[in-house]
Amino acid sequence: MPLISARALTKRYPGGVTALDGLTLDVEPGIIGLVGANGAGKSTLIKILLGLLAPTSGSVSVMDMDVATQGTRIRQFVGYLPEHDSLPPDLSATDFVTHMGRMAGLPADASRERTAEVLRHVGLYEERYRAIGGYSTGMKQRVKLAQALVHDPKLLLLDEPTNGLDPAGRDEMLDLVKRTGTEFGITTIVASHLLGEIERVCNFLLAIDGGKLLRAAPIASFTERTGTLAVEVEEGAELLVRRLVDHGLTARLDGQIVLVDLPNAEPYDVVRDTVDELDLALLRMEQRRHRLEDLFSGAADDAA
């Protein structure tokens, strides 16, 4: 049974904007990247999973429970880090996270103990007793993560967790997310429009575009090697392409880089010999990998 199962999920906002358009997907445990451009429907999907929004049509279940009818039970096992600010400035991190633990159904003692633990996990120490209003963005983001973790959820929904962070804070937050997912074994969905972040943290990827599922597959399959050899020479790239074609290879020029199809290992030798023959300076020769970006540029091409 998949952890999340959505069937023909559609959300239309009043005013005619369609955020989700017949989305059908199954999510298995893991660290899942939910990518898409701004407005692709990432936040809408997360809010529907939480029961914060009702879908216009379609159905979705989390842990085999229907979101529409068993929302309060589901939410005892789900942690949520919203994209926007969501902290009261007048409370301390300790008081607020303890309170949120109790809102998730923990008894008072358990909530206090777990608050101390998760605040330590996210790296908040003496400052946890000070009012949140005085915190930096990075510290606030950690408090948001702590309140999502305090009740030991089975599913963690992180909406743009690095929003507003500087590069160092971004790195620390991503490490934290990755460790939370791998060491704690909590299935984590990270929504982001930054593919690089998803690539660093996640092992599975859900790509949505225009409210539809573009692709769902392990990250590795997006970044695996392609059947293309990229060759970079200092100059004379055009000459090289012509000569390679003469030798029976399929070669083309992409900017200053020569791309050669790789049906087998043979082109490696041909390229080496041809470069030597033409007396060119070979800078680089490597098998190309897919990049996550290709996914969306491909989608854009399809649309066009």
Binding site: V78, M103, H151, D175, K178, E183
Partner: protein, 301 residues
């Protein structure tokens, strides 16, 4: 799994992440009712600024003291000069401290619901084990319970004063104890009415100053319009007192103690049957709660 080297070496930097392992939680999860109770108590505490800075306590505690002061003074007078003078009785006490009660609602209703909208904590609450209307109900109950402190406590002071200053304490106790039920019911009626009105207004804006201003304006305008209409014309307009919800609660309060439904300070002006006031009070509650329900069903989280 072993901690990542980057995390382990990061301990040297300031603000770094330490790794002390992680324990899961296998204990009980108490569910929706416990979550509602938690929200109720935390909101009740917030109404008095408990667990907040000292500044957050000034207004609620100041108004609580003001609400208690007349009872304290009355008991003091009774202690000094005996039972000859009774400056306050149960039936008119709440109308005497009405200003303190309405100011408490105006100041603290926005505190209970405005901040959650302003800081967008609402989306965290709604993503926990409660329903939207559970949130509204917990807030309404908390504000009512906070007002009960201001309404019941001074009447208990009066009660203690009356009993202890009597020559025959036991006989006085026998006389006064039945009134405790009346005190409880009338305080609940008064507190709930003010809380419903305050919350129905405060729920509509995250801006604290707007909410406070709107609540004060509502109480002032209804009181003034009602007073003007009941003073013009001869005979005066009989239904005019019904336009003032606080006056209506006061009339019901009088009726609970004396059997005569008459807003304080309107004696002799109008004489309406008790059910008019009871119906008007029910209307205030139904409309106010409906407004709160509609607001929290639709509010964006």
């Amino acid at each position: 799994m072993q901690p990542e080297p980057s995390a382990a070496t990061a301990t040297a930097r300031s603000g770094a992440i330490y790794d002390l392992g992680y324990q899961g939680y296998d204990g009980p999860r108490l569910g929706r009712r416990a979550a509602i109770a938690t929200l109720f108590w935390s909101s009740w505490r917030a109404a008095f600024g408990l667990g907040r800075s000292g500044r957050a306590k000034i207004v609620p505690w100041g108004l609580t003291i003001i609400a208690l002061l007349p009872a304290g003074i009355a008991v003091g007078i009774v202690a000094l000069v005996g039972n000859a003078i009774q400056p306050f009785s149960y039936d008119n006490y709440l109308s005497q401290i009405q200003v303190a009660l309405t100011l408490f609602v105006a100041a603290q209703a926005p505190e209970l619901v405005g901040g959650d909208q302003r800081n967008r904590v609402l989306s965290l609450y709604f993503s926990h084990a409660i329903l939207r209307l559970d949130y509204a109900a917990a807030k309404l109950a908390a504000l009512t319970a906070a007002l009960l402190v201001l309404t019941v406590a001074p009447q208990l002071v009066l009660f203690a004063g009356k009993v202890l200053s009597a020559t025959d304490v036991l006989a006085a106790l026998g006389d006064e104890v039945p009134k405790l039920i009346q005190i409880a019911v009338s305080s609940l009626v008064y507190s709930l009415t003010l809380a419903i009105i305050g919350l129905a207004i405060a729920a509509f804006t995250p801006r604290r100053a707007y909410a406070t201003g709107a609540i004060i304006a509502f109480f002032l305008v209804t009181a003034i319009v009602s007073a003007m209409l009941s003073n013009i014309g001869s005979p005066p307009i009989a239904w005019a007192p019904l336009l003032d919800p606080v006056g209506v609660a006061d009339a019901v309060n009088q009726w609970l103690f004396t059997g005569i439904a008459m807003p304080t300070n309107r004696e002799g002006i109008v004489d309406n049957p008790a059910w008019w006031y009871l119906a008007a009070l029910a209307a205030v509650w139904v409309v106010g709660i409906a407004v709160i329900v509609v607001r929290y069903r639709r509010i964006q989280a």
